[in-house]
C-alpha cells in the first residue's frame, strides 16, 4: 500500500489550497484573454503577485538541496504536490522550473555553481535549455549545431528550436557537437548568457495549450572557455539527468488534470437531464467514469511507485517512459470525454477543458513523443532490462 507520510500529506494539502484559492480563481481571466486572442497564461502582474505568494508560503526551490537554500523534498512529496498543481488549467510551475537543476548540480564547476547554479536554485536567475533542432527533435542525438575551439574561446554555429522560457532566461544551456563521434558521442554542453553576441532569438512560436517556444540561431557566437558545462564531448548523459524526474512530474500533472476533468464530468452528469434521465444514470457515462477513475488510480500508483524507487536510488528510466506514455494518453482521453459529456458547453472557450485538452495534447509530444518512449520500453523489455517480467 502506498501512503504519504503525514508531513507530505500536509504539503500536498498546502498546494491543493494554493491551487484552489490562488490559481483557479484566475482561470476565468486567463480564459477570457485567450478567447480574445491573447496568451493563455498569467499576465506579468498576476504572475508577480502569485510568485510573491509562493515565496511567502515556501513553495519555492522545492527539490533544491538544503545547502543551496532549498527544501530538498523527496520525489514522492514533489509528485504529490505536482498532482495538485496539475489541476490548474493554465501553465504554472513553482520556481525554479527545475529540470536544469539536476544537470547543473551534476557537472557545474565551482565557479559555475556560484555564478549560475546558486542564483538559479534561489529562483533569482532563470534558465533554458536548447537541445532540439529543426532536423533533430525526438532524436536529439541527430543534432548538427557545432562548437569549435578558437584559442581559449569556443565559437558556436547552428540553429535550435522549441526552446521554452527564452526571453526570461538569464542563461541558456546549449548542446552542440564538438567532436567527431557519432550520435551521442562528441556532444558538449555550453552556457550562453542572455544577449551574448551571435546569440539570436529568431522567432517566437505560439504553441497550443498556452506555451510559447522559440527558435534560436547561433551565428559565430563566441563564448569564453570556462562556459563548457561538464566534460568536453560528454554532455549527453548529464543532459538525460533532467529527464527522468521531469517525466514523472508530467505523470503527476496529468493525474491532476484527469482528476479535474473527471470531477467536472461527475458534477455535470449528476445534474444534467436529457431525454428524461440524468446523464449519471446512463451507462455510457457510467462506463466513462469507471474507466477514468480506474486509470487515474493506476497512473497515480505508477507515479508514486517510480517516485519512491527514484528516492531509493533505483534506475526508473523504463518506468518514467511508461508513465510519460500512459499519463498523457489517459489524461487526453478523460479530458476529451469530459468535454463530450458537457456537450456544446464543453467545447466553448469559457470552459477550462479546451485549454487542458490543448495542454495535454502538447505533452504527448514534448520530453519525448509517445512513440519514441514506446520504442524505448519495447527495446528494454525485449533486451531483458526491465525487472517487471524477469
Amino acid at each position: 500500500m502506498f501512503e504519504l507520510s503525514e508531513e507530505h500529506r500536509m504539503l500536498k494539502e498546502l498546494v491543493a489550497k494554493f491551487v484552489d484559492q490562488e490559481l483557479i480563481p484566475l482561470e476565468r481571466q486567463v480564459l477570457a484573454r485567450e478567447a480574445a486572442g491573447g496568451k493563455a497564461g498569467l499576465s506579468d502582474a498576476e504572475e508577480e503577485r502569485i510568485l510573491a505568494r509562493c515565496k511567502e508560503l515556501g513553495l519555492w526551490s522545492l527539490d533544491v538541496p538544503e545547502e543551496l537554500g532549498g527544501a530538498n523534498l523527496p520525489t514522492v512529496a514533489l509528485m504529490a504536490m505536482n498532482e495538485e498543481l496539475g489541476r490548474c488549467a493554465f501553465p504554472f510551475t513553482f520556481p525554479p522550473d527545475s529540470p536544469n537543476l539536476h544537470m547543473l548540480m551534476a557537472v557545474a564547476s565551482p565557479e559555475q555553481r556560484t555564478k549560475y547554479l546558486e542564483p538559479y536554485a534561489a529562483g533569482t536567475a532563470k534558465s533554458a535549455i536548447a537541445i532540439s533542432e529543426p532536423g533533430a527533435g525526438g532524436d536529439p542525438a541527430g543534432m548538427i549545431t557545432r562548437a569549435v575551439q578558437d584559442g581559449s574561446d569556443w565559437v558556436i554555429n547552428g540553429r535550435k528550436i522549441w526552446v521554452s522560457r527564452v526571453p526570461q532566461a538569464d542563461f541558456i544551456i546549449v548542446m552542440a557537437r564538438t567532436g567527431d563521434g557519432k550520435r551521442h558521442e562528441g556532444v558538449t554542453a555550453f552556457i550562453v548568457e542572455k544577449g551574448e553576441p551571435g546569440f539570436i532569438i529568431e522567432r517566437e512560436i505560439a504553441m497550443i495549450g498556452g506555451q510559447r517556444t522559440y527558435e534560436l540561431v547561433f551565428e559565430d557566437c563566441r563564448i569564453p572557455g570556462d562556459r563548457v558545462l561538464g566534460a568536453i564531448g560528454k554532455g549527453f548523459a548529464p543532459m538525460q539527468l533532467r529527464l527522468t524526474v521531469r517525466r514523472l512530474q508530467m505523470g503527476a500533472w496529468c493525474t491532476g488534470m484527469a482528476v479535474r476533468a473527471l470531477q467536472m464530468l461527475c458534477e455535470h452528469a449528476r445534474q444534467r437531464v436529457t431525454f428524461g434521465a440524468k446523464l449519471s444514470e446512463r451507462q455510457a457515462i457510467q462506463w466513462w467514469v469507471a474507466e477514468a477513475a480506474t486509470k487515474i488510480h493506476a497512473c497515480r500508483l505508477m507515479v508514486m511507485d517510480a517516485a519512491a524507487k527514484n528516492d531509493a536510488g533505483k534506475d526508473v528510466r523504463t518506468e518514467a517512459s511508461m508513465i510519460k506514455v500512459y499519463a498523457t494518453e489517459m489524461a487526453q482521453e478523460i479530458i476529451d470525454q469530459s468535454m463530450q459529456a458537457h456537450g456544446a458547453m464543453g467545447v466553448t472557450k469559457e470552459m477550462p477543458l479546451q485549454l487542458m485538452a490543448n495542454k495535454v495534447r502538447a505533452m504527448r509530444v514534448y520530453e519525448g513523443p509517445s512513440e519514441v518512449h514506446r520504442m524505448t520500453i519495447g527495446k528494454r523489455v525485449l533486451d531483458g532490462k526491465w525487472s517487471g517480467i524477469n
Partner: protein, 275 residues
C-alpha cells in the same frame, strides 16, 4: 488645547492608555481543535440512518477551530501570549488535526485518544481537567463544529470552570487583565468586557486563517504531542445523548412555470391548497 463656546481654554486631559497589551503576565492559550468531515465534502447519510458516512471521506480541522488557532497565533505574535497548546479529543487520527494546528503556529499538542463518540459535555469536562493542569489565560474554541453543529462545548466549559465567556466573537482585544469581545448576535454586534481567564468561541468574521507554509509544516514535525486517555483526566466519556435517527433533508420538488397571475392563484388554491 481647544476652546469652549465662550472662548475659555479647556485643557485636554491625556488619559493614560488603558493598560498595554503586554502589561499582563504573558499567558498560555489553549485551543481545542476537532477533526470533522472536510467542508468541501458532500456528506452522505449512512444507509442505516445512524449517522453520517465518514469512511473514506476527507477529514480536516473544523473551520471555526482554524479561526481559533489563527487568533491564538496572532495574539502570540503581538506578544500577548507565550505558548499555544492545541488539544484534540477523539480517534488516533486526530493527531493529524493537531499537526495542522502546529503547522499554523501552535507550540505543542495534546491528544486525548478515545474511540467513543465524544459529546460536548464529556469534551468540556476533559478540557476542564486539561485547563486545570495547564492553567491557560485564555481558551479559544470554534463556535460550533460543522459536523453536529452543537455549539455547546465552549459554553459548557465556561460554566464548568466558572470563567467568563465571549461567544461568537468577531473581534477580540486584550487590555491587561480584561478582554473586549465584539459578538455577532441577532440584529447586530454586542460588546462585552471579560475578566481573564476567559473562554472565547470564534465566529466566521474574526479572522481569515493563514495557510500552514512549507517551512512551518516542516517545523511542525518536531513539535511534541502528548497522548492521554479520558481516564487519565478522570472523565467517563460514555455518551449521554442517543441519536435516534439521521436522515437527509426531503428532496425539493421541481418548480413549475405559470403563464399568468390568474393561473398562479388557481394553482395555489387548488393544487398547493395554501390559499
Amino acid at each position: 488645547m481647544r476652546t469652549n463656546g465662550r472662548g475659555l481654554f479647556l485643557a485636554t486631559v491625556e488619559r493614560p492608555a488603558l493598560i498595554q497589551e503586554t502589561a499582563r503576565q504573558p499567558m498560555k492559550i489553549l485551543v481545542p481543535v476537532k477533526r470533522v468531515v472536510d467542508y468541501n465534502v458532500k456528506v452522505r447519510v449512512k444507509s442505516d440512518g445512524t449517522g453520517v458516512e465518514t469512511a473514506g471521506v476527507k477529514m480536516s480541522m473544523n473551520p471555526f477551530d482554524e479561526i481559533a488557532v489563527e487568533e491564538a497565533v496572532r495574539l502570540k505574535e503581538k506578544g500577548a501570549a507565550t505558548e499555544i497548546i492545541a488539544v484534540s479529543l477523539g480517534v488516533a487520527a486526530c493527531q493529524e488535526t493537531i499537526r495542522t494546528a502546529l503547522a499554523m503556529g501552535a507550540d505543542r499538542g495534546i491528544l486525548v485518544e478515545s474511540d467513543v463518540d465524544l459529546q460536548p459535555l464529556a469534551v468540556a469536562k476533559m478540557l476542564k481537567a486539561i485547563a486545570e493542569k495547564e492553567q491557560p489565560g485564555l481558551i479559544i474554541l470554534g463556535k460550533q463544529a460543522i459536523d453536529d453543529d452543537m455549539s455547546a462545548t465552549g459554553q459548557m466549559l465556561a460554566a464548568l470552570l466558572g470563567w467568563s465567556q465571549g461567544t461568537f466573537a468577531s473581534k477580540v482585544t486584550i487590555e491587561g487583565d480584561s478582554m473586549t469581545v465584539i459578538r455577532e448576535v441577532d440584529g447586530g454586534l454586542e460588546t462585552v468586557v471579560l475578566n481573564l481567564p476567559a473562554i472565547i468561541t470564534t465566529d466566521l468574521r474574526l479572522n481569515e486563517p493563514r495557510y500552514a507554509s512549507l517551512p512551518n509544516i516542516m517545523k511542525a514535525r518536531k513539535k511534541p504531542i502528548d497522548t492521554m486517555k479520558p481516564a487519565d483526566l478522570g472523565v467517563d466519556p460514555t455518551p449521554r445523548l442517543t441519536v435516534v435517527k439521521v436522515e437527509e433533508p426531503a428532496k425539493r420538488q421541481a418548480g413549475k412555470k405559470v403563464g399568468s397571475v390568474a393561473e398562479l392563484v388557481e394553482k395555489l388554491r387548488n393544487e398547493a391548497k395554501v390559499i
